[in-house]
């Protein structure tokens, strides 16, 4: 069943249909939120809030439109609200999400990817809020600049600027990692 049909069923009060939608988008919402709030525990809490609010306000959603940007809009609002009201944690949660599932045939390569992902997550957290949101939505979640602009409620050209500057800043933050990899390659 396609997404629009699931949304229409959920709008009539079908909780099973909404459960399917939760299963479809839970991972994406969690990944997006974790970039914004940092901690995996906080991200899980915010993700839960996102879907509860989505259920509560689902009747306002137009089923003809894609659900993912709408969920990301709720997630961005909840994550920023969470960051405002929560005390900053003292620990740097690089590994709070736990290691990504290792492929049994290439454990070394998977460990390297896990290390890389942790480095990238830590660097993304050091970006400004606008650059971080734009980078996560466009580069990690695969949205277009226009879709990300709708989520962030800014112009698409501004999203592009944030992505460009975010990438340049990430290059500076990950310079050690990138240069180390380059020297290993050579």
């Amino acid at each position: 069943m396609d997404e629009a049909a699931l949304v229409r069923r959920a709008q009539t009060g079908d909780t099973l249909a909404f459960d399917e939608l939760v299963g479809l988008y839970q991972r994406a919402v969690f990944g997006f939120v974790q970039h914004l709030v940092g901690s995996a525990d906080d991200a899980a809490e915010v993700t839960q809030e996102v879907f509860v609010r989505a259920w509560r306000y689902l009747d306002r959603f137009d089923p003809a439109r894609p659900l993912k940007p709408w969920l990301y809009t709720i997630a961005a609002n909840r994550a920023h609200s969470h960051r405002r009201h929560e005390q900053p944690r003292e620990t740097v949660a690089l590994d709070e999400a736990g290691p990504e599932p290792a492929a049994p045939d290439n454990p070394a390569g998977d460990l390297e990817r896990h290390e890389l992902s942790c480095e990238v997550r830590a660097a993304i957290r050091q970006l400004s809020a606008q650059q971080r949101d734009a980078m996560v939505l466009v580069e990690l979640e695969g949205m277009t600049a226009v879709e990300a602009a709708a989520v962030m409620k800014i112009e698409a050209v501004t999203v592009r600027q944030h992505v460009f500057r975010g990438k340049k800043r990430l290059r500076e933050l990950l310079a050690g990692y990138i240069d180390g990899r380059s020297s290993e390659d050579h």
Partner: protein, 316 residues
Amino acid sequence: MRCREVRLWMEEFACDGVDPGREAAFQAHLAACPECAADWQAVTAVDDLLAAYVAPEPPAALLNSTRAAIREAIATPPARAGWFGWLLRPAGVGVGACLLLGVFASGLWLRDRDLRETAAGRPAPTIAALPAEPELPAEPAPVAAPPPEADPVPPAAAPPRVAAARPATARPSTTRQVTGRPSPRPATSRARRASPVRMAAVRPAYRRTVPRPRVVAPPPARRAGEPAARLADSLVVVALAAPRVTSHSSSAFTLRAAGDDAAEPALAERDPRPETAAATAASPREEFGGSGLRVTAAVVESWPTEVAAGGAEAAR
């Protein structure tokens, strides 16, 4: 091609990928411009890292806990629906109505405070605000004024403009009567200050509409046979017409009172009784010398009874 244009291209390409139609020109510029080439190299280096990035896995229990939270949300509706929802509840409607009623009542109270004080029998503050008018032979009626010895002012103590019209007996300051506070100033100083008509005496009538002005104007000459209460009425007109101030300065201002041509239609609209309109049209007009303040006595008589009565009482 300028670097500024290429930079815009780079912002676009960093998001959406390199446009094939512009790729040749873009690469040609990068080959010629080391600065832009460095910027673009930074972007592509990060792209390689992001391509290998793996999103974090959510905790295994998150799916079930989310579904449980949704079930709980269905079972328990939200405690409150924000401000609008709260306002729509009966208690919210009651509180809102009380607030509106309070604001409306306080506005009315402030607006009519001077009228209520006059109706309660207090001396009209405005009657004493008038400098004394010249003695008129045809006016034997007693004017409400303190004994001459209570506030003696030699004519020379008054400002030159009013000195000619000031008799030997001066009336007390109006400001003191309005506020009810005893005057800390000596009688001579008080009489000197009483020579201009101090609009502080009638402040309640206009202070919410115009800045506080001062009128430097002698009273109109009393005509033969005119009762003393007419003066009180005239000054009440000044008070009530004060919101009609059209121009003023720091030391003096011009009033356009009820007798003014421009103000007459507005007055007739405000008080549409036939006798008012007729009296307004037929009445003579007097101008307070040089001040531009003109008062129509017939209009005065159409003001509410308590105002006229208060003025007459004060005059007596």
